[in-house]
């Protein structure tokens, strides 16, 4: 396939308190093997060399695991390919002459800091409210094999734990709900004997913090599951609700 010429419409916003708007850019000579972020690198090099300000965006590992990259691309969190973060999206998913809309993840709890960079520290605060097992790191816990865990439970816990905390679920949800994110962490621990001890209070505390941060409620649309780059499924929300309810009844 020959190299592509593209029109990019990108959200530019100078700072958290500034007004932003979409601005058009042209890039040429984009190879289908480039990653989406490498295409952004090309644009930025072009902007720097012409004396313009480059587009700020979050990114780090560029291998789909750190959860830094975000971007709403053509109306979809992480772009058009399922199960993929923006850094792992490749330009072969686009064609010559395309116009691509690039916006930040938008949610009340994710304020824009600059251009495509948003503040996701609300996720950290939810994790601090209960996303842990209260065990000291003394190394003097029991032997790792003292407590067998059914493989199925361990595998399900791993599936839930695969969440990278990128926020695509929130950005894509019409209610800006964080229930898939919170449900995944609650599920990981609820499925393991080590985590069950505090399971009910954990659900209560994390849900309370989630609400305090201004995330919306879940109305079972399921868009989060569709856009999640790591395939975290909706059953985690159901499990969260069970744990939460169990905690409420316990009083």
């Amino acid at each position: 396939m020959k190299d592509m010429n593209l029109t990019l419409k990108i959200w530019r916003q100078k700072g958290a308190n500034d007004k932003g708007k979409m601005i058009d850019y042209q890039v040429a000579g984009i190879s289908e093997h480039m990653s989406f972020l490498e295409m952004m690198d090309v644009l930025n090099e072009q902007l720097i060399n012409s004396g313009d300000s480059p587009v700020a965006f979050d990114h780090d590992c560029r291998e789909g695991i750190c959860g830094s990259c975000s971007m709403f691309i053509n109306g979809e969190a992480h772009g058009p390919v399922k199960g993929t973060t923006t850094c792992q999206l490749h330009m072969r998913s686009f064609k010559d002459g395309d116009t691509i809309y690039i916006e930040p993840f938008r949610a009340k709890a994710f304020p824009v800091l600059k251009d495509l960079v948003v503040d996701r520290s609300s996720f950290d605060r939810i994790q601090r409210s209960g996303g842990f097992i209260s065990v000291n790191t003394s190394g003097n816990t029991q032997d790792a094999n003292a407590l067998p865990i059914p493989k199925q439970d361990a595998d399900l816990a791993m599936d839930a734990a695969a969440c990278i905390g990128c926020g695509a679920c929130v950005a894509t949800c019409k209610n800006s709900s964080a229930m898939l994110f919170v449900g995944a962490k609650i599920s990981q621990y609820a499925l393991l004997p080590q985590g069950q001890v505090e399971s009910k209070t954990r659900a209560q505390n994390m849900v309370a913090q989630m609400d305090a941060e201004g995330f919306g409620n879940c109305t079972n649309t399921g868009a989060c599951e569709v856009e999640c780059p790591k395939g975290i499924d909706l059953s985690n929300i159901a499990r969260m609700n069970r744990e939460f309810l169990g905690g409420s009844l316990k009083g």
């Binding site: 190879s31 560029r62 959860g67 600059k114 003097n140 816990t141 067998p148 734990a161």
Partner: protein, 672 residues
């Protein structure tokens, strides 16, 4: 040249050294810990685990990371697993054997006492992580599963799918979160450390830049811990994260911390090959793939040509026309030779013209025989005696998918090839740096009160790191070693009281940082930061890469110095210092890489032997069964090179820590 004291306790057998140290080390009483502050820079496995544990112990911890959350540190990208001498498989593993394998794998260039301690605490790490809810892979009986990794003969690697680093890091992150919630850790996200402050000869704080607002801040503490990772990005292209940098370590170096063995770099054999000049980073495919994948190139040049012009597919090449060069050259270890050996063997074949992609820099990693082997096993288990070939393949693919599914998906995402049907293409890439800040047995640098842990230090992996040992070292340092050793230092600080940030030392350091930031945004040069970073990377890869020689290293030293000079004249950084400015962040990091790169080449030039990841063309075996293999020189080079900063890299002074081997006899590594 002088020798340096590594503070390894003497008088006990190696196996009792750490136990005896712990029995006698000074402790700080809980009431006094409340009055002591510790800064931890970096929140990967080492920094995160250290911050959590120190806070649990009662110290006041301030933790810093440049990412938007501590959970995103690059430890998260480690795929394959973590070693521990649990011997759950009953296959002959022991603390001693893990110790031995690590020293041997490091080509006898690591410090015995540190490595033994690492092996001792390894088993605790697994217990700890399971207690934290890390979902390691399990077998059907509910017990933990293990896999084997390169360079060893036992299965001691614990794993969580292909995301072991992620799960271990999230474990450390959860432990941190618990302490942040209790107020024992103050967390500074999106803050970059730009200098360490020395007061009365001791590390007493750091200067940071708030990446969002550009504010330069002073932070004081009684001790400073650097868990800031490796410097592989000096090569521009590496498997490191885009933000991974040497700045924290380099600033400490400039303030008096010796930098050890900078030339020891691990070039990982199984990465996805480069596809073009726009490439921003390289992606690793876990080494665990070598358990089941077979590495080969065509045996005939005409097949190479046909592959490159697209007229032949790798699956069409008959068995007898394939060169499984690792199995051929190293029959005992085959595809599981250590990383440095596997990388050089790939380069050797590609240099000889057998590379299988357009750039000529790729070899195959083939799962076809594993799929058939697993398929037959499954057919037997399921009682399908007459399973057809396609049924066997189907069953086999299911097993391969269960083991490596996410890695295969990742490969397909990047390359658009389906590795279940056609062999993967791989090539070596810079992955890990064994070199780093010199530390003594206490993990303290040559600056009193400044510690370095994890990949940021140099101590445990010698000249080459074994697979699945980076995670082990990071967590060992952070959870189990530093929390003991730092007490020995802080026990003398219980009457010091809070450290003021108003001292002239803090003021001077802050001024210098501010001046530097202002310089970059006002320079208005002609070339972007990446322009310089790419040029530096190219020099490093060509002349300080998988194979090094005197001429190339001398050229590299001159070229890097010239490039650095040009950088300070002509670099262009858009925007302002008081805003979120990624180009400004990069400029500061690349400035430090441009100094480190020169020291790296200087160190490689000094070490005229081949050891581990450091291969000098002048030092190879000639004749005999090891013909052409790397030749180590224990008589002249069994030392750690610890470099002292003297104004610029070319003036750096070499100090030697002579390595003593009491438990292990130095031998040539043979994987044949």
């Amino acid at each position: 040249m002088s020798t340096i004291d590594n503070k390894v306790p003497h008088g006990k057998p190696l196996k009792d050294t750490w136990t005896s140290y712990k029995d006698k080390v000074d402790l700080v009483n809980p009431a006094n810990k409340r009055n002591l502050d510790i800064i931890v820079v970096g929140t990967g496995l080492a920094g995160g685990s250290a911050a959590a544990t120190l806070a649990e112990q009662g110290y006041n911890v301030k933790a810093f990371c440049y990412q938007d959350s501590p959970r995103r540190a690059h430890s998260i990208a480690a795929q394959g697993g973590i070693n521990a001498a649990k011997n759950y498989q009953g296959d002959g593993d022991s603390t001693y054997r893990l110790f031995y394998d690590t020293v041997k794998g490091g080509d006898y260039r690591s410090r015995e006492a540190n490595v033994h301690r690492l092996a001792e605490v390894s088993a605790n790490i697994i217990d700890q992580c399971v207690a934290q809810g890390v979902p390691f892979a399990r077998d059907y009986g509910g017990l933990l599963d293990n896999r084997s990794f390169g360079g060893v003969l036992v299965s001691r690697t614990f794993y969580a799918k292909g995301q072991t680093g992620q799960q271990l890091l999230l474990g450390a992150y959860s432990a941190m979160n618990r302490q942040i919630a209790r107020g024992k850790i103050t967390m500074y996200n999106r803050h970059e450390m730009l200098d360490v402050v020395i007061v009365d000869g001791k590390a007493r704080g750091i200067i940071t830049r708030n990446i969002v607002t550009g504010e330069i801040d002073r932070h004081s503490a009684h001790a400073v811990v650097l868990g800031t990772g490796g410097y592989g990005n000096v090569f521009f292209l590496s498997t490191n994260a885009m933000g991974s940098n040497v700045t924290a370590g380099w600033k400490a170096h400039k303030r008096g911390a010796y930098f050890a063995n900078p030339c020891y770099t691990q070039i990982h054999p199984t990465c996805i090959p480069r596809s073009g000049d726009y490439q921003s980073k390289l992606t690793l495919m876990s080494e665990s793939l070598r358990n089941d994948g077979r590495i080969w190139v065509p045996g005939r040049k005409e097949d190479v040509d046909a592959i490159r012009n697209g007229s032949l597919k790798p699956t069409q090449i008959a068995e007898e026309n394939r060169d499984y060069y690792l199995e051929r050259r190293y029959p005992a270890f085959g595809n599981l030779v250590p990383r440095d050996v596997a990388s050089r063997a790939a380069k050797e074949r590609c240099d000889a013209g057998f590379g299988v992609n357009a750039t000529g820099e790729a070899v195959y990693l083939d799962f076809a025989s594993a799929i058939v082997r697993y398929g037959k096993e499954q057919a037997t288990i399921k009682g399908e005696k007459n399973a057809s070939e396609s049924r066997i393949k189907e069953l086999g693919k299911d097993i391969v998918k269960a083991k490596y599914g996410n890695l295969f998906d990742m490969y397909k995402q990047i390359t658009d090839d389906n590795p279940y049907e056609t062999p993967m293409m791989i090539y070596p890439a810079v992955h890990y740096t064994m070199g780093g800040i010199w530390v003594d047995y206490n993990l303290m640098t040559t600056i009193p009160g400044c510690y370095a842990i994890g990949e940021a230090n140099f101590s445990d992996h010698g000249a080459n790191r074994l697979g699945a040992s980076a995670l082990m070292q990071g967590l060992a340092d952070g959870y189990f070693v530093l929390p003991y050793t730092i007490g020995a230092y802080l026990s003398y600080d219980i009457r010091t009281g809070p450290i003021s940030t108003d001292s002239p030392e803090f003021e001077a350091a802050e001024k210098e940082v501010t001046k530097n930031m202002e310089f970059f945004v006002n320079n208005k040069g002609t070339n972007s930061v990446d322009y310089y970073h790419k040029k530096l990377g190219n020099i490093m890869w060509e002349k300080c890469g998988m194979s090094r020689n005197e001429k190339g290293l001398n050229e590299a030293i001159d070229e890097i110095a010239a490039l650095r000079e040009d950088f300070w004249k002509n670099v262009s950084v858009p925007g302002y210092a008081n805003e979120l400015n990624p180009e400004l962040e990069k400029a500061g990091r690349v400035a430090d890489f441009l100094e480190l790169g020169e020291l790296f080449a200087k160190d490689a030039l000094d070490r005229n032997e081949s050891c581990g990841g450091h291969f000098r063309e002048e030092s190879v075996e000639v004749g005999g069964p090891q013909d052409g293999e790397a030749k180590r020189d224990d008589k002249n080079y069994a030392y750690v090179s610890a470099w002292e900063y003297k104004g610029k890299p070319s003036e750096a002074v070499l100090h030697k820590e002579q390595l003593e081997f009491k438990e292990i006899e130095l031998k040539q590594r043979s994987y044949k």
